[in-house]
């Protein structure tokens, strides 16, 4: 329905308002806005440049893959990954040290009690 010939190329190239605003492909699946928010929660970080945001988002995706692969190497049953597989990977691999506090090894209540007893003198001041 090109009313005037000069308009037709424009109509062809751009589908208009109904077309998605960005048909440009991106290779990210994690939301960059969320990653940006986490980055900004870091002290001393005010500005987050586009390139750094893209790279860190992509790195995080690669990191999730890596963690899944490493945990899978630890599994006993080969068809299921449990928390313990992940925490074993985190505690065995040296450069994952930064995760050890966030992903602690689980201990049983009996083990915990034993630990408390062993360290009871350290806690004396608290009770």
């Amino acid at each position: 329905m090109a009313s005037s010939p000069s308009k037709s190329p424009h109509v062809k190239t751009f589908p208009g308002k109904l077309g998605r605003p960005s048909s440009v492909p991106t290779d990210l699946i994690l939301p960059t806005q969320r990653v940006k928010m986490i980055m900004k929660s870091c002290p001393d970080v005010e500005m987050v440049p586009q390139e750094a945001l893209h790279l860190i988002t992509k790195a995080t995706e690669l990191f999730v893959q890596y963690l899944a692969e490493e945990s899978y190497k630890k599994v006993a049953s080969k068809d299921r990954i449990d928390y313990d597989d992940l925490s074993n990977a985190v505690h065995d691999i040296e450069h994952l040290e930064f995760l050890r506090e966030a992903i602690p090894k689980k201990v049983t209540w009996a083990e915990a009690q034993k630990l408390i007893e062993e360290n009871s003198n350290k806690f004396e001041g608290f009770f």
């Binding site: 440009v24 991106t26 969320r34 986490i38 440049p49 860190i56 790195a59 995080t60 299921r80 930064f98």
Partner: protein, 148 residues
């Protein structure tokens, strides 16, 4: 700024998708393991950001450059991420470029369109009215259908 603590979590659904795509088919991942991996991913973002940021500060820069992120990966012993990251950055740059070009072309097209309208307004009537006509007809149809 993050207003609620949940704002610092990454969406579980996306994390689960990445995990599923990585592992062989049929491997189940316990919910606890999934949320722990999501938590680990947030910690990773923080750790990378602060490592890259201190590298930038060392170079007396206020913002983190792509190179700072690559160096941070090396420092954190994630060298194997550097190559795929470089590739991804190239893709990103290209898509940014074409986005920019699209925008410029769009702006240009708009300009010509406006110019077109100004010149053809008196001769040909206008397309704006045609569009309104279509909507009107659509509305009428809707009403008719409801009446039936």
């Amino acid at each position: 700024m993050a207003e609620r603590p949940e704002d610092l979590n990454l969406p579980n659904a996306v994390i689960t998708r990445i995990i599923k795509d990585t592992l062989p088919e049929g491997v189940a991942v316990a919910k606890e393991a999934r949320s722990a991996i999501a938590k680990a991913a947030s910690v990773f973002v923080l750790y990378t950001t602060s490592t890259a940021n201190s590298l930038a500060q060392k170079n007396k820069k206020k913002t983190v450059s792509a190179q700072d992120v690559f160096t941070a990966m090396k420092e954190m012993e994630f060298e194997k991420f550097i190559e795929p990251l470089q590739e991804s950055l190239e893709v990103h740059k290209k898509s940014q470029q074409s986005k920019k070009e699209q925008k410029e072309a769009k702006a240009k097209a708009k300009k010509t369109e406006v110019a077109d309208k100004n010149t053809s307004f008196t001769e040909e009537g206008n397309t704006g009215v045609t569009i309104m006509d279509i909507t009107e007809t659509g509305k009428e149809n809707g009403v008719e259908l409801q009446n039936v």
